[in-house]
């Protein structure tokens, strides 16, 4: 399948890229990993007149901890998360998620930032970043601004990024002591989108009660869904079996799935209930609790 023709631009700096985006406006799309965009172009579901390839901009492929946050640069690939010792040792939710995104070959090109900027509610990082309380840095011609992840996803394939802005960095708050996270996904086969998936990040207080909690859902709505009521139900409580079951039901109630080949509405909601309980149990165990 051959995409429609386009003009190709390969800026060497973020400044050049945003200047191009500013000049080209809605006619341009950003090409980073390309693992979502190129299939869309080949199917001609999208036919932008310009592609701005950011892959040749140096210095954007980092994954590092600095200033109390894990910082993920615009060109960090999924494989870079998987290869990162700091991610594996301190951010188990991210480590879980990156290994179930698409397949190993796709992960060698696909970027974390692209997974968010694409705005697809079936993608995995949106819910992961919601649960982690991440922050997005968007850089435009007049400078950078920070966007809390909670106000980043506006609708299906729609984000808070303006046409002349580049998602340049993701910041994930460094975990407090007694923190743990987990991502639990059901997919029909490697490479499929989630039938449903649940991200959970938890911090326990010294007395074993829940000091902080994030729960978010993948592919059961038009945007990724933060399960606020489930979070509130757990906050300040001891996360025992009854509390986990209660929160899991509230998460299922928050899901707004549509029926498709992957299952009925009832099935998917119940799946969210089961996966939420599993994600919470794993997160609590990793936080050193549940004993």
């Amino acid at each position: 399948m051959i995409p429609a023709g386009f003009d190709y631009h390969a800026p060497a700096t973020v400044g050049e890229a945003t200047a191009l985006l500013s000049r080209l406006g809605e006619d341009a799309k950003v090409l980073s990993g390309g693992q979502s965009l190129i299939p869309l172009l080949k199917l001609r579901l999208a036919s932008p007149r310009h592609l701005v390839d950011i892959n040749r901009i140096p210095g954007l492929a980092y994954v590092k901890e600095a200033d109390g946050a894990l910082r993920i640069g615009a060109l960090a690939r999924e494989v870079d998360l998987d290869d990162s010792d700091v991610v594996r040792s301190r951010y188990p939710l991210l480590a879980d998620a990156t290994r179930v995104i698409a397949d190993p070959l796709v992960r060698n090109l696909a970027t974390v930032a692209g997974n968010l900027a694409h705005g697809d509610p079936a993608n995995d990082h949106p819910a992961v970043m919601l649960a982690l309380g991440a922050e997005i840095t968007a850089t435009g011609p007049s400078g950078a601004r920070r966007i809390p992840i909670g106000s980043f996803f506006k609708g299906p394939f729609e984000t808070a990024l303006k046409p002349d802005e580049l998602l340049t960095e993701i910041r994930v708050p460094a975990p407090a002591p007694r923190s743990g996270g987990a991502y639990v996904k059901l997919e029909r086969k490697v490479g499929d989108f989630a039938t449903a998936a649940v991200a959970a990040q938890i911090t326990l207080a010294a007395d074993g009660t829940v000091a902080a909690i994030g729960i978010a859902l993948t592919n059961v709505g038009l945007t990724p869904i933060k399960a606020d009521k489930a979070e509130v139900a757990l906050l300040g409580k001891r996360p025992d079996d009854a509390a986990i079951k209660g929160a899991a039901q509230l998460a299922a109630d928050a899901a707004r799935p549509e029926a498709d080949l992957r299952g009925s509405v009832e099935y998917k909601k119940d799946l969210v209930r089961v996966l939420t309980a599993r994600a919470l149990r794993k997160a609590i165990e990793r936080a050193g609790g549940g004993k």
């Binding site: 399948m1 051959i2 995409p3 429609a4 023709g5 386009f6 003009d7 190709y8 390969a10 090409l31 390309g34 693992q35 190129i38 299939p39 172009l41 080949k42 592609l51 390839d53 892959n55 494989v79 698409a102 397949d103 190993p104 070959l105 796709v106 060698n108 090109l109 490697v190 490479g191």
Partner: protein, 162 residues
């Protein structure tokens, strides 16, 4: 646009449309037809090539993105008339039937063994999970990769890589 790329150690260049996909550059412009076009939808991995040593699906990358990068294809596995241990392994263990997925399987396995010389069966299955085979049920492919891993380990002198 002019694209300059090193393929299997040879510097090549071509003038291409930006929309030309990498596998079309490799197969139709440079006539290296060992790289297969399978599903053309980022699923099957028959088109897998190594980009700076990492396996990627060449159906899901533009040729111009390979500018100044290094590509390895299945044609580059054989050295001085000797098959690569992976190629020998696929023959010895019957790691292919129709052979369509084989170039992709070989390239993914090559990159994997370069990084993981002593993999478990689970590790191998994990590594090739982006490459589909509809003939073998994967059993003999896994054996072929194990065969190659053992041979490569034996070839490296103890205490150091080449």
């Amino acid at each position: 646009m002019n694209v300059q790329v090193t393929i299997n150690g040879e510097k090549l260049s071509a003038d291409v449309e930006p929309r030309l996909l990498l596998f079309h550059l490799i197969r139709e412009v440079f006539r290296l037809t060992g790289t297969h076009i399978g599903c053309d939808t980022t699923h099957c991995g028959a088109c897998t090539v190594l980009l700076d040593g990492r396996p990627v699906k060449s159906c899901t990358m533009f040729a111009v993105q390979a500018h100044n990068r290094e590509i390895q294809t299945v044609e580059g596995l054989e050295q001085n008339g000797a098959l690569h241990p992976l190629q020998e392994g696929f023959i010895a263990e019957h790691g292919l039937q129709c052979g369509y997925c084989t170039p992709g399987m070989l390239m993914t396995s090559k990159a994997f063994l370069d990084k993981h010389p002593s993999p478990s069966e689970d590790d191998i299955r994990w590594a090739i999970s982006g490459n589909l085979c509809r003939c073998t049920g994967y059993v003999n492919i896994v054996k072929a990769v194990q065969h190659a891993a053992a041979k490569l380990r034996a070839a490296v002198p103890a205490g150091g890589a080449r």
